[in-house]
Symmetry: C2
Subunit: 176 residues, 2 copies
Amino acid sequence: MNEQSNDKQVIYNGRVIHVELHEVTLANGNRAKRELVRHPGAVAVVPLEPDGQVVLVEQFRFAAGRVLLEIPAGTLEAGEDPDQCAERELREETGLRPGRLDKLGGIYVAPGYTTEFIHLYLARELTPDPLAMDADEDIHVVRLPLAAALAKIDAGEIIDGKTVSALLRVARRLGV
Amino acid sequence: MNEQSNDKQVIYNGRVIHVELHEVTLANGNRAKRELVRHPGAVAVVPLEPDGQVVLVEQFRFAAGRVLLEIPAGTLEAGEDPDQCAERELREETGLRPGRLDKLGGIYVAPGYTTEFIHLYLARELTPDPLAMDADEDIHVVRLPLAAALAKIDAGEIIDGKTVSALLRVARRLGV
């Protein structure tokens, strides 16, 4: 199975996303159009305190039109190592530096149209060490027990995809 | 917390996605640009057989540049009810009609830039009743025990975000 791009039209080069329209040939020989959002990729981190609390962030999401409760996350800068990005974003959004950062693999958020892949992490041994935040971010830190965060997933109160994926993976890993 | 759009520029009106650039005012008074992908939303379904096998689909994903193993899913048509879309996509992609369809809430896949919300379902009491597939889809059905699918998540072999979220939510709900 494969798809070959025969031709592409560049539609938009933005600050974070780039949009292209490709004409592809499918493995079965059919031709199709593929609308593509190029994205640099991102990281997302489950910060877990020794007392079992997770450190989440609450922010208004323009695309969702509402406030969402999420794990700390951010977009990779050009050439940035995902592990370093994870530490940077965690310090910017929560003021915490991880002594231990375990990789949880990652996810394609919407492989039907965007290249974005999010590297997921579990961060522990957290110590205060803040970094200044981006000026266009307005984020509130929310601490709650991991079990309470999982209950919010079950209840439909945590509905950000990366947050659902990462918290449930951490729960399985830790046997919660 | 809120963001008001002061102005928008329409960049692209595609078949599935629409791209806009907004200038917004944040709750703290700062101004920022927001690149926005408008998407009609989607459904994704965990089809569970009585013997504990889940029915997955394998397809080449152009945006990921590789084959991904996913739960059946598809984009909402204009005005389409998500429950009906779930049944339609399941019949198209797996040839199965669900006798029972339980809602699992949903997820915003990437609320930093896309409006896409995926409605998640658990489908049971499956009976053969195929619908013709879209001509630009080339999909292989893969059955495996739910426990084996969960092991593939742990091992980083299932890396599609909606699939990770939905399978782990089903595992919690069923106590697997």
